[in-house]
């Protein structure tokens, strides 16, 4: 059996929602970052699914949506590095990783 596009997209949406839920509810910055990664991967999943559904001959046209996935992975890696280093700096300054306690941007 093959996975239908609809199934893949539903799965992607579910994973994305889990990520959003994590970002909204968790207060720990590390967990928020992890949830962000989940959201990114949900998007990746939908990209792969679209590529599979609309471009049947992958050998002839490799520059399809799959390339985006590689791109997103690369950006995600960079983002994780930057995000974690900011996190480290925040922790060193305030001795906390709780998102609710950092409110320096209060207007």
């Amino acid at each position: 059996m093959t996975l239908s596009l609809s199934f893949c997209l539903h799965l992607s949406a579910a994973i994305f929602s889990i990520g959003v839920y994590g970002v909204l509810t968790r207060s720990n910055l590390i967990v928020i970052l992890m949830s962000l990664e989940i959201m990114l991967n949900a998007v990746n999943l939908s990209l792969v699914a679209f590529g599979r559904a609309f471009l049947t001959d992958l050998t002839r046209d490799p520059s399809g949506p799959q390339v985006f996935v590689i791109m997103v992975l690369a950006v995600a890696a960079a983002e994780a590095a930057v995000g974690l280093s900011i996190l480290l700096a925040v922790y060193r300054k305030w001795r906390t990783t709780n998102a609710g306690e950092i409110d320096l941007l209060k207007g």
Binding site: V23, L24, S27, I32, G100, I102, D103, K106, G107
Partner: protein, 649 residues
């Protein structure tokens, strides 16, 4: 010569640049050289240009320097033109101007603002030359405003005295009123004719008058005339000219007697075809006659030596407008020329008196100067005779021609006004001569008191022993101008203008009245006797029978008239009450109500207040906590998606 016309205004302008930018660093001799070189060179060039125009076939010289403004259908060429009329003006401006520059070398010798003075004076020359050389009315307006600016700068030359600065401002503001009319007239010209060039306008107006479109022409005429009344100090805008005497005396001679104030007459003569066609000439003549009379009546009782001459200038300009108003433009220009000679002479001679008396201007503190200043007195006498219209002097011919043309044109009432004014002119001129040069010196009566002169410096009255003649650099120009005032009347300016250049002038208006006919002889006899009657009356009242004036002023009408005349008929006060005060009241209301209250408080302040109010309400959202922001972000995305999907679905 065609390509050299532009040099005529450029040379004085170079003098302005050199003296204006570098004058304070140069030695005085260099400043003097550059100050006089520009006008003198312009005078030589003008003479050459004039010779070319007057001699030969009498063709106008035209130099076209391309476009000045080109925008859509608006096209203003930068064109210069010398024809007979502007040729005469060129000679007067550069000739009298150069003489006055030379005179100023002596008059302004000890002034700290020496280079600045000559820079302004040169700039004035340049602007005035542009004014008369322009071949279209927009370029003329450039010169028109330029001379206005220089007039303002030079009236307020001794700006440290507030009253001088105020006088300059008054001249500028009153001229703005006239210029407002002028500019409107130019707009109307563009709308009506689509061109600015004088020849086309004169021809176009003559063609237009046969069509039914004469009310537009009338408005053009009246608006331009308003501009002329401002610049040439006619009723109702003459009030600035007497105050303009706050400037140095050479300025009064050059700008406020000989050249700038006559530019209104020049405008009328330049656009004579248009003015004849427009039908405003009766108004011009009436205003001119009334101004002549009013100026003479005020001049009767003034005590400031320059104020008498100032009101006399107003009066004589009125004569010129009267001449132009009866259609005799050539005669008006003739009087302009002779007036430039003798009034410049009178002002400069008065300046020499003022110079010799260490800046004393009150005639009540003069007297008996004939023995102390014989040369000055002689040239002043020549000028006074010419101004009075004494037979065979310059003013005699020109003034009588104006009166003759007035009578000839059928304006008996205006002629009567002009005739009475002629008697008054002779009277006040010789009243001045008697007060300044005859009798006993009255200056040392208050010796030791001292007072402040127009420059704000403390001066002491000159002791009668220390009064001596001015240097020859001042007397030389006086003598030349004196000769011109004596002989200038024999120049046939009207014939010269009529014979050649003024074919555009409406036929039959003042043209046939040329040449010595019997009417003219009667006019000469009448005019000459008017002058002599006035002169004799003045000598009777102020020299031979000194108690007469006191007795006349003892009577009630005499007292009333003396007060009215001395206070200039309270015109300044009336303007102040009717125009200045209401205007400043309205300005104050506008300032507090509109500017302060509405704009400052409601609009500007209100905008700031509103922004601050909404800001302080919205800042509550900015908690600075990441969870809040993420919730809002997600809510926003979900909201937008909902909207898009709903709209698409």
């Amino acid at each position: 010569m065609e390509s050299a016309l532009i040099l005529i205004p450029i040379l004085p302008f170079l003098g302005f640049l050199i003296n204006g930018l570098l004058g304070h660093k140069m030695p005085r001799r260099a400043v003097s050289f550059f100050a006089c070189a520009g006008p003198a060179a312009a005078a030589i060039l003008s003479l050459l240009a004039f010779q070319q125009v007057a001699g030969g076939e009498g063709k106008a010289i035209v130099q076209s320097l391309g476009d000045w403004i080109r925008a859509g259908s608006l096209h203003v060429p930068f064109g210069l033109k010398v024809d007979h009329l502007s040729g005469v003006m060129l000679l007067v401006i550069t000739g009298v101007g150069t003489l006055i520059h030379v005179y100023s070398l002596g008059y302004m010798r000890d002034d700290p603002g020496y280079p600045r003075f000559f820079a302004y004076l040169n700039l004035f020359m340049a602007a005035m030359l542009v004014l008369v050389l322009a071949n279209n009315i927009v370029l003329l307006f450039l010169g028109w405003e330029g001379v206005g600016l220089c007039s303002y700068l030079l009236i307020g030359f001794w700006y440290k005295d507030l009253s001088n600065a105020r006088a300059g401002m008054k001249a500028f503001v009153v001229n703005r009123v006239g210029d407002f009319g002028f500019v409107l007239g130019v707009f109307l010209i563009f709308v009506t004719f689509g061109t600015f060039e004088f020849d086309a306008l004169n021809a176009g107006a003559a063609a237009k008058v046969t069509v039914s479109d004469s009310s537009t022409l009338w408005w053009i005429g009246i608006l331009l005339f308003v501009g002329a009344t401002g610049k040439s100090a006619q009723i109702p805008l003459y009030v600035w000219l007497p105050d303009a005497m706050a400037g140095p005396t050479p300025v009064s001679a050059l700008i406020h007697a000989a050249t700038m104030v006559t530019s209104g007459i020049y405008l009328l003569a330049r656009l004579s075809g248009l003015f004849v066609a427009s039908g405003v000439l009766p108004i011009v003549a009436t205003i001119g006659a009334l101004t002549a009379l009013l100026g003479a009546l005020i001049a009767l009782t003034q005590t400031d030596i320059k104020k008498v001459l100032a009101y006399s200038t107003v009066s004589q300009l009125g004569y010129m407008f009267l001449g132009a108003g009866v259609g005799a433009f050539g005669v008006a220009v003739f009087h302009l020329v002779t007036h430039a000679f003798f009034k410049a002479l009178l002002f400069l001679a008065a300046g020499a008196v003022i110079h010799s008396l260490h800046h004393e201007q009150d005639m009540r503190k003069m007297g008996g100067l004939l023995r102390k200043l014989p040369i000055t007195a002689t040239v002043f006498l020549v000028g006074a005779l010419a101004l009075s219209g004494f037979p065979l002097t310059a003013g005699f011919f020109s003034k009588d021609e104006i009166l003759h043309e007035t009578l000839h044109g059928g304006h008996a009432l205006l002629y009567a006004v002009g005739f009475v004014t002629a008697i008054l002119t002779a009277f006040y001129t010789f009243r001045q001569f008697c007060m300044v040069f005859l009798g006993e010196y009255r200056g040392s009566a208050h010796e030791g008191h001292g007072h402040h002169d127009t420059r704000g410096a403390l001066v002491h009255h000159a002791d009668s022993s220390e009064i001596r003649e001015s240097p020859w650099v001042m007397l030389g120009p006086l003598v030349i101008l004196g000769l011109l005032s004596l002989g200038g009347g024999f120049l046939d300016v009207p014939g010269f203008l009529l014979g050649a250049a003024h074919e555009t002038q409406a036929a039959g208006v003042g043209t046939e009245a040329h040449g010595p006919d019997t009417g003219k002889l009667t006019g000469w006899i009448l005019g000459g006797s008017a002058a002599i009657v006035g002169i004799l009356a003045a000598f009777t009242a102020f020299q031979w029978s000194p108690g007469l004036v006191t007795r006349l002023q003892g009577t009630t009408p005499g007292k009333i008239f003396a007060r009215l005349s001395y206070n200039k008929f309270y015109v300044d006060e009336a303007y102040d009450l009717l125009l200045v005060r209401p205007f400043s009241a309205v300005s104050l209301i506008l300032f507090y109500l509109i500017d302060r209250a509405l704009i400052d408080c409601v609009l500007v302040g209100g905008t700031g207040f509103f922004v601050r109010l909404t800001g302080s309400a919205l800042r509550r959202i900015q908690t600075g906590r990441i969870p809040t922001y993420t919730v809002l972000l997600v809510a926003g995305v979900v909201g937008l998606l909902t909207i898009f999907l709903w709209a698409a679905g």
